[in-house]
Amino acid sequence: MNSEDDLFYNDDDSAHEMDDDDDDFVEMGIEPEPTSTNEKTDVEVFLYEVLTTEQIVQHMVDCIKEVNTVVQIPATTTRILLNHFKWDKEKLMDCYYDGDQEKLFLEAHVISPFKKTPNAKKRTTRATSAAVAASVQQEVTCEICYLALPATLMTGLECGHKFCIQCWTEYLTTKIMDEGMGQVGTISCAAHNCDILVDDATVMKLVKDPKVKLKYQHLITNSFVECNRLLRWCPMPDCGHVVKVQFFDSKPVSCNCGHIFCFACGENWHDPVRCMWLKRWIKKCDDDSETSNWIAANTKECPKCHSTIEKDGGCNHMVCKKCRFDFCWVCLGPWEPHGSSWYNCNRYDEDEAKKARDSQEKSRSALQRYLFYCNRYMNHMQSLKFESKLYASIRLKMEEMQQHNMSWIEVQFLKKAVDVLCQCRQTLMYTYVFAFYLRKNNQSIIFEENQKDLENSTEHLSEYLERDITSDMLVDIKQKVQDKYRYCESRRKVLLDHVHEGYERELWDYLDSA
């Protein structure tokens, strides 16, 4: 196998394409899956495909080829240009034909392929064989290893910086293996202050270790997916599939591995709350949840500058470290009128101390409010985690029922019930995020009623499945469970439809302060 074949694409010839692709599959080290592209549709016709890693590589190669049919430059340069434009083909074409091409190449950190004589004095890699033969005797010092080597052992990019082949190989290997190419999908020339990027063909030529090559291909593929708005890796660990959509939107997509996630943000599918609010919420939870609990229990705020203060001594005469305000820890009023007997501070309740306490009350209540929503959110999340255990116990129950003269088909309602339970829990979990940022209005009251109803019936369903199912009244329970899960399903739909309608008609107001 020659070095050209190692790469995803072939510079000069597309006739051998199929052979190359076969090589690629092997190179990527992943078995090609027989299940080809699955076309799936959401209720609202959101078209997307789940691609395997091989298909993604092919997709990338196709993108490059498509551009190359129009723009006549080496494929390897095209990849760098496309990467520079975040794989927006149209933008690249526009800049290429309408703008300053020299500037374009400069910004993408490549030397224009039309300018074959580089600005450096040295000759290019494609120097005539006669010239090479003449320079064989001549020794050049490699600036990395400081060894004097024949000029034939030196190589470099169009920028003219030459290093010996071994140093290049080691340099590229370090960049690929240790630094992960800085997540940008490119490596620059080893020379100081030179930002010209190493093209893929050169990397493949200089790197010999198959492990390093493989990693390089993974990194390229990854940067292709990461910068492409219409692609997203399945967030499941070790999944390796990519979801490709036709247009970017916040919609649920289901990967071949079974994981359902939001295409726009990559989180679990979070209807009814929108990505933006969920992101804020997750950040808030990560930042505060435990901290704010502690703060609520252990600190007060300076009545003047609102710095959070932890009291670590017995004296109630406080001096704020930040604003030097003297106040009383007990009533939070100014210290001055307290004189020598601090316990008289109830006397000042009516005045400034009251005001101070009011403002503190406000920040406390904001915290209380957050904790209220957070607790409920966490609670449903926790329950959702337990439902996997429920699946196991239900499976046992189903087997038992089949031994009691019930057919396989008749006991399937139990599995369906747990499915519905999980969906409801997930929806409920995110309703609390939605509600946290919601300003109260008539619609929000309706929403809360829907939420209450769904939560109630979900808890009932959960109870049936966990407890009542152990009783012997199997026929009774079947009716009860079926009724309940159908009710839950319909309530869930009502709630979601109401929220969606609110989005369409702009009925929701949000709290900025939250």
Binding site: E143, Q166, C167, E170, Y171, E179, H192, N193, D195
Partner: protein, 165 residues
């Protein structure tokens, strides 16, 4: 890997001994181990460090020059870009990848064509012109910025100390 690092360090040592830059002496502590060097740097003229001789230790990784060495002053030195334990914080010693604070452009970072000589010359200019924007020693940066007289006074003390006075 270590073989090429060793060759390169030997070449650099040879070059530094043949053409030593002004005010800098550097070489392996022990000729058995080329990955630990000691360097002596004289304080640049017309600065508060003038006249001092500062000792530092350089530790080279086995994949040198692909990764930069580490440098640590073994004497006391009060300077905004030197941690209180002596470690030197200067962009040329940082690989292009790691810049958690986002202060440095990748152009000033380590690349395999840098060398011990270039590092030491950068350290000399760092001594002459501290960079108080990204301080390793916040006290020193504050003193340098707000109380230059005090900073010079401390520098003179370290100069005297470095000479064993």
């Amino acid at each position: 890997m270590a073989g090429s690092a060793l060759k390169r360090l030997m070449a650099e040592y040879k070059q530094l001994t043949l053409n030593p830059p002004e005010g800098i002496v550097a070489g392996p502590v022990d000729e058995e181990n080329f990955f630990e060097w000691e360097a002596l740097i004289t304080g640049p003229e017309e600065t508060c460090f003038e006249g001092g001789v500062f000792a530092a230790k350089l530790t080279f990784p086995s994949d040198y020059p692909l990764s930069p060495p580490k440098m640590k002053f073994t004497c006391d030195i009060f300077h905004p870009n030197i941690y209180s334990d002596g470690r030197v914080c200067i962009s040329i010693l940082h690989a292009p990848g790691d810049d958690p604070m986002g202060y440095e452009s990748s152009a000033e970072r380590w690349s395999p064509v840098q060398s011990v000589e270039k590092i030491l010359l950068s350290v000399v200019s760092m001594l002459a012109e501290p960079n108080d924007e990204s301080a390793a020693n916040v006290d020193a940066a504050k003193t340098w910025r707000d109380n230059r007289a005090r900073f010079n006074e401390i520098a003179h003390q370290t100069v005297r100390k470095s000479l064993g006075l």
